[in-house]
Symmetry: C2
Subunit: 178 residues, 2 copies
């Protein structure tokens, strides 16, 4: 193994920029001392929520444009600029499922693609929620809310129906705690 | 809820392109029938491996440039062009830890950031491996291999030391099976 040195960032340029994402190109020195280029994507941080209602976990069943198919996922989405992670989690849960109020427990943060983007997902578990009216966005008009027993949700992770990595990790973590 | 219609893709342009990633801009019709733009990132698919050695799982402890910190993660990395997922998993495990051979079980595929990229991670569990010499790349010269008991790895997920969402999901899935 070569001498261990940390990465050094010499210069960083925004080489592509839109409202949704930016691509950065950094001039770096790698851990082995060689020079290189590191290209990465900046995008909004996200939230996912394991909402427990009558011993069931709420899942959203939605057509995913990029996957050309339906997939089960925990409720969640992007944190708005200036918005707090918990506020975003409460907003996304209410928009997608109608559920609000309740008691919220942090399950920390996780990195979905740490080699490509520093984007973070804030993880929450919510209980004792009050039902309400969902208000999905235009891109969510195909969204359906499913109530799965926690054990059935764990089975759905195992058989691949919950293809969202962050949702899978949070469901298994909540199940391990319960 | 509005009338349910699938997303329609009318046109797709590559608006940024390098060897590591591409940004696509699609003209779409959203599920509620409104017109829109969907920008997304194309990047290589990945593999992650839960390698079990003497009832311990192998983890790589590495400084993550984008996170400006060290993080535990399962061995893995990008699938090379034209490479098979299992071949990539075997190659990455051998490069990072030296372990090779053994018996391999698929744990399916998962999507780390399905709203931003269709990039897929192929999940594998490997057992009965033969030790060998690691051959890390220049960007991996700071990589250290840790052997954690599976139960300790589950604890490391719970306390946030395994901040990689896909690694966390695979460790919890393997632990639930064992």
């Amino acid at each position: 193994m070569a001498e261990c040195r940390p990465w050094v960032r010499h210069h960083s340029d925004v080489v592509f920029d839109t409202s949704r994402l930016q691509v950065q190109r950094d001039q770096v020195t790698r851990p082995d001392g060689t020079a290189g280029v590191y290209e990465w994507v900046a995008a909004a941080d996200l939230v996912r929520v394991a909402a427990i209602v009558d011993s069931h976990v709420l899942l959203v069943d939605q057509y995913h444009y990029l996957l050309s198919g339906w997939m089960l996922q925990l409720p969640g989405g992007s944190i708005d600029p200036g918005e707090d992670g918990l506020a975003a989690a409460r907003r996304e849960l209410a928009e997608e499922t109608g559920y609000q109020g309740g008691g919220w427990t942090s399950y920390g943060q996780t990195y979905p693609l740490p080699g490509l983007t520093p984007t973070t997902v804030h993880l929450w578990m919510a209980e004792n929620l009050d039902p309400g009216q969902a208000t999905p966005e235009g891109s969510e008009a195909d969204l359906h809310v499913r109530h799965l027993q926690l054990g059935k949700a764990v089975e759905a992770v195992a058989d691949g129906r919950i293809g969202c990595a962050v949702s899978a990790a949070l469901i298994l973590a909540v199940a391990a705690h319960s």
